[in-house]
């Protein structure tokens, strides 16, 4: 099984609201003291891929399109025991649109070679477009399934080689799917990303890592550098939302909880 996992490096989405700043001109967040991390859903995807490889064998290539710093995300993935890593260097545009990204990833995947499964996160923690997976599937001309949280290789000779479990609004579905296939992965208790061992982190810096430029991919690199022609961000702002929280009062815990219960019932009775 040849698996490609697409990883995006993003600004740490867990920084507190009070530390979050934007550049209204650039229409993007300012890094400030925040660190760069791998998007959590990409790590859920990689974890799902690692578990699949444990059972079905095969090879996992991690692929990122990003600034040179995205090498750190790929190194971490190697430390988690991905086999190969490819960085397509983004030399300038802070926010290429999802179609531009999908075209870059598709070109890189064609250059990597034959694949059975391409795995992405359901959405990224910065812009949260939630559409790179679908667009990439169309670019590659293969089917896709979203919100997957577990993958098995089916028994027998059916052309529907993979059995996926995926989340729906009310529960889950099992999907039988052929390869090659694109899936987007969501979080579940079973795909919480593993923590790499310190030794493997050190080792990962000695492993080879391919770096490709946009010009090597045989796509319209200038269009990607310009950000793409799919959508553009015309405004970015930080919403102001002020609520005043009243903490319940009372001398004892009993009094406080009695006040809490009264307030709760006041709200529910008014509904």
């Amino acid at each position: 099984m040849n698996i490609i996992v697409c990883l995006k490096q993003i600004l740490d989405p867990l920084i507190p609201v009070r530390d979050f700043r934007i550049d209204p001109e650039l229409r993007a967040a300012v890094q400030g003291s925040a660190s760069l991390v791998t998007n959590i859903f990409c790590e859920n995807a990689l974890e799902t891929a690692l578990q699949l490889r444990e059972r079905a064998g095969g090879k996992i290539t991690v692929l990122a399109f990003g600034a040179p710093s995205a090498e750190d995300s790929l190194r971490k993935a190697l430390a988690m025991k991905a086999d190969d890593a490819v960085l397509v260097v983004n030399d300038g545009n802070v926010h290429p649109d999802p179609m531009a990204v999908a075209r870059v990833l598709a070109a890189a995947i064609r250059k990597i070679g034959a694949f059975d499964l391409v795995m992405l996160g359901r959405e990224s923690g910065d812009w949260g477009a939630g559409q790179t997976g679908g667009l990439l599937a169309e670019e590659l001309g293969v089917a896709s399934v979203s919100f997957v949280d577990a993958i098995e290789v089916a028994d027998g000779e059916s052309h529907l080689k993979l059995h996926l479990k995926r989340q729906t609004d009310t529960g889950w579905e099992r999907v039988a799917a052929p390869t090659p296939l694109v899936v987007t992965v969501t979080n579940d208790e079973h795909n919480v990303p593993r923590i790499p061992k310190t030794r493997d982190v050190m080792m990962s810096y000695r492993q080879p890592l391919a770096k490709w430029t946009l010009d090597e991919l045989g796509i319209d690199a200038a269009a990607v550098r310009a950000g793409g022609d799919y959508y553009r961000v015309v405004d970015l702002s930080i919403p102001v939302r002020e609520t005043k929280c009243e903490l319940v009062s009372g001398d004892s815990l009993e009094d406080k909880v009695s006040d809490l219960a009264a307030r709760i019932l006041q709200v529910t009775r008014a509904m």
Binding site: G130, D169, V257, V267
Partner: protein, 323 residues
């Protein structure tokens, strides 16, 4: 070319979300000077048809047996065919999992542009713009869709329902689609998790638990509190990732977007990604041991205490005061 298509899965609704989607379509079509085509996908649904006819100019029923149960490739092929028949300027969908799965691929096949989780739509000089939360709810962006059609999946409850009109003004047509040959992945089993009385999206009261609960058992105690006030249970991502609650209970940016009259957050920190799912709640209340937890910046009232001390007392108090 100035018409608006809204795709509604007939397995749902009519509910506040389908009303919002229809309202959004009406407004957008009026701004564009076009018509609204409500397309009902799946087995026929009389109530949804009537609700659609009261808002749309045309109701199209796509009830081909191949669409009765959702299969991704067949449904995508159908949506592409229907869109090509109408050639709309914009296509709207809800924010259910199926709509999110299909929207980008639909946009790609039609040569259009997609965006999602829109909470507001506008037309600026003929171009369609969508407002949506980004950076985990810490910022709001306005996205201009450069290609036509604009394909947008909506946070449908954020849009006001349209004023109902005389439904007999709308034409109702059945649509034939040809999706028999659509192969690809097949859904072979569907499971519905115990969801309580109604869908979380429609719940009037929600009691939600976070990582601070420390395990699965406390959800049972929260369940007792919830049942005293007609509420349903939900959870933060951390509690779902720990396996204490099923994934379908997750509320937030990548979980359910809920809009209850009361949301009681127990041992939930209030990360922006969690808050992104409860911005439409009328009243938020919190139980948290940490006075500096950001949830307290977003709630109307709360208590700074260990939930383990609060919950048993709260149960007794609610039961007593209800009388």
């Amino acid at each position: 070319m100035s018409d608006v298509v809204v795709f509604l899965f007939s397995s749902s609704g009519p509910d506040r979300a389908t009303e919002g989607a229809l309202g959004a379509a009406r407004n957008l079509a009026d701004s564009l000077g076009g018509r609204v085509h409500a397309v009902l996908v799946g087995a026929s649904n009389e109530a949804l048809m009537r609700a659609s006819a009261a808002v749309a100019d045309a109701v199209l029923i796509a009830d081909d047996p191949a669409l009765a149960e959702y299969q991704p490739e067949a449904c995508l092929a159908a949506l592409v065919q229907i869109s090509r028949m109408i050639s709309p300027r914009a296509i709207l969908l809800g924010n259910d999992a199926y709509s999110q799965e299909l929207a980008p691929r639909l946009a790609h096949r039609l040569g259009g542009s997609a965006t999602g989780d829109a909470v507001e739509l506008a037309v600026d000089d003929g171009r369609i713009r969508a407002r949506r939360p980004v950076y985990g709810g810490k910022a709001v962006a306005v996205i201009e869709l450069l290609q036509s059609p604009a394909v947008v999946w909506l946070r449908a409850r954020a849009f006001a329902p349209a004023e109902a009109r005389d439904p007999s003004g709308a034409t109702v047509t059945r649509l034939a689609v040809d999706v028999a040959s659509a192969g690809g992945p097949r859904i072979i089993e569907r499971a519905v998790e115990d969801a309580g009385e109604s869908r979380l999206e429609d719940a009037r009261v929600i009691v939600s638990g976070g990582r601070g609960l420390g395990g699965p058992e406390p959800f049972r105690d929260l369940g007792e509190v919830a049942s005293l006030i007609g509420g349903q249970l939900a959870a933060s991502r951390a509690a779902c990732d720990a396996g204490w609650a099923p994934p379908s209970w997750q509320v937030g940016q990548t979980g359910k977007k809920v809009a209850p009259g009361l949301y009681l957050a127990v041992a939930i920190h209030g990360a922006s990604q969690h808050l992104a799912g409860i911005s439409d709640a009328k009243v938020i209340a919190a139980i948290n041991i940490d006075p500096d937890a950001p949830i307290f910046k977003h709630c109307s009232f709360g208590i700074v205490e260990d939930y383990r001390k609060v919950i048993p007392l709260l149960r007794t108090q609610l039961a007593a005061q209800k009388k």
